[in-house]
Symmetry: none
Subunit: 194 residues, 4 copies
């Protein structure tokens, strides 16, 4: 039962994701989405209150992929700076991959009444990074920091911001610089953690 629910929700979300990736938010019609998903028009509204309600769901989907991918790259016992490198690499990679969708996700934030939804989406990510900071502190890799939850948010924030700044402009010819850019970012965070 639960699995079938998952399936329909995922079908719609996947279809919406692809459709919006190709045509942007405005031009991706609900009827195209449901046709692509192979479900009825009304089914869409069983899972989403409105067309725009899909925006945070897509954001969540991207972030989940991000968390999965990061977790897969990190081994138990990795030092915090290696983890930061992974965070940077994967955030840049996913921002690059999902460029088009991220663009309207972020402008979509404005539409959304409450920060709460976004907080909910990010919470597991924040908590995982916070945990890693905690472990690093216990292993004396980094000094004792006052409020770890804030530190986690700051690190995630600066990495995402940098990736978006880099990729959301449409020109991909300067990608030679991305390594330098990422190195600068890494050094910044490294210093911030000393």
């Amino acid at each position: 039962m639960n699995e079938k629910q998952e399936t329909k929700y995922q079908l719609i979300l996947d279809a919406a994701f692809e459709q919006m990736k190709e045509n942007g938010f405005e031009k991706a019609s609900v009827s195209q989405i449901v046709k692509r998903a192979g479900v009825a028009q009304g089914t869409f509204y069983l899972y989403f209150d409105s067309k725009s309600a899909i925006v945070p769901a897509i954001a969540e989907r991207i972030l989940c992929e991000q968390i999965d991918v990061v977790r897969n790259e990190v081994r138990d016992g990795d030092d915090i700076l290696s983890i930061v490198r992974v965070l940077i690499d994967q955030t840049f990679a996913l921002t690059d991959k999902h460029r088009e969708v991220i663009k309207f996700c972020y402008s979509g934030i404005a539409y959304y009444d409450s920060f709460q939804r976004w907080e909910d989406i990010y919470r597991p990510y924040y908590e995982w990074v916070e945990l890693k900071l905690q472990e690093a502190m216990e292993k004396k890799e980094i000094p004792s920091l006052s409020v770890l939850s804030y530190q986690a948010k700051l690190i995630i924030g600066i990495i995402e911001q940098s990736a978006e700044t880099y990729y959301l402009a449409s020109d991909p010819t300067k990608e030679e610089n991305v390594d330098i850019y990422k190195e600068e970012l890494f050094q910044f965070i490294k210093r911030a953690l000393s």
Copy 2:
């Protein structure tokens, strides 16, 4: 008669420009545009084949403003590096000013089947820069370069690209760096012209 044409065309273009600046491309309706322009619905289609045909016209309009402004800042006899500085400053200023519109102009390129239209729009700009390079060469400010038209395109290209990379990301907190960024760009071009 010609003047009246100019007038109607300009009225519509101005209205479209403002409307799209405020609401984006999709949400700016033709009926809003014509109302703002003070012309009839059908008149729109005397000057534009379709709603999306306005996109290159807006690009042209911005570029014309760019050319005008650059020409006003440049005096006869200015050396080529001063001119490059003007190009950089004005390109950055206009990209900043027209951020919103430029965003969909560039995504609009994709819609358009042929590069030809964009080539046409840019041609006078390219030619003017090419002329300046020519003069600089004759005045021995720069060495003898093989294909001047390519050099002009490269210079314009790299400046626009940089400005867009800088401004089209939404975060305005890093604006302190713009001068450094521009200086790097200038040095790059300067070396390229030695």
Copy 3:
């Protein structure tokens, strides 16, 4: 089992009744009704063939309330004219109380193909009044009447009709006249029973 059926049926009917009282027939959606009733969407269709099938059920419900209330007010041995007074008072009271619902119940008659359903609903009411007439005849309160069942229908009919005429017009300012109106009605029936 029977009791549980009763319960679900009543839950749905009550919910429908309230919902339609508040929003009218068209705007009361089945999904709102089942939510209010605390049952599943499909359960509705176990008890009602369609949304409009609820209309005669509501009529029945009102009429049942009517019969109950009348029976409670009437004592064994009451003379027929006292009973007529009770009928008038209670019919007017219930028509007043359920104004909104009665309005679309009566326009709903049009939807319904057969009078049969309405006949079925009214039968117990008719029979009870007929019984009372029978008793009155035996006690010589009224003369010997030919077809008692018709007399019963006529009496119930004229009372309901009068109450609806009085209340279904929205203007409540003339309510001072209700007693005169009811008295006229009573006299009419009284004469008809002599």
Copy 4:
């Protein structure tokens, strides 16, 4: 040009009027209305802001019919009491004729934000009655009344209210009483004008 506009507006209004007369407001769909009117879906919205915007238009239409019919029945030089008789007769006749539509017109008043629209619709009617009162006063048929515009509104108001009270209940069997009812109403106004 003006005539064609009249035509389309009238076509839609007529179709809406008939459709709503037959099915009520909710069940009369815009698509049915435009089909009946023989115009395109979008054309509806050239003349009405929304489906509910048709409600005051229908009210206006009925009132216009009312004014026309009254003017045709009244001769120059008729005394004011004859005119009042005509007003009563015609108001009752039209309320009877348009029962169904009037029902939701009046509940539709609630939906409408401003009294202004209704004031505008009624103004010509008010003014015509006021004029007749003015003439009656000059001919000494009635005593000198203070604010004629108020008197006009009161007379129109009481007649409409009475007609609606009488007809909006669905039962037509008591129409024998209508003449008495109207006579009472006439006497009331007659006394009010002495």
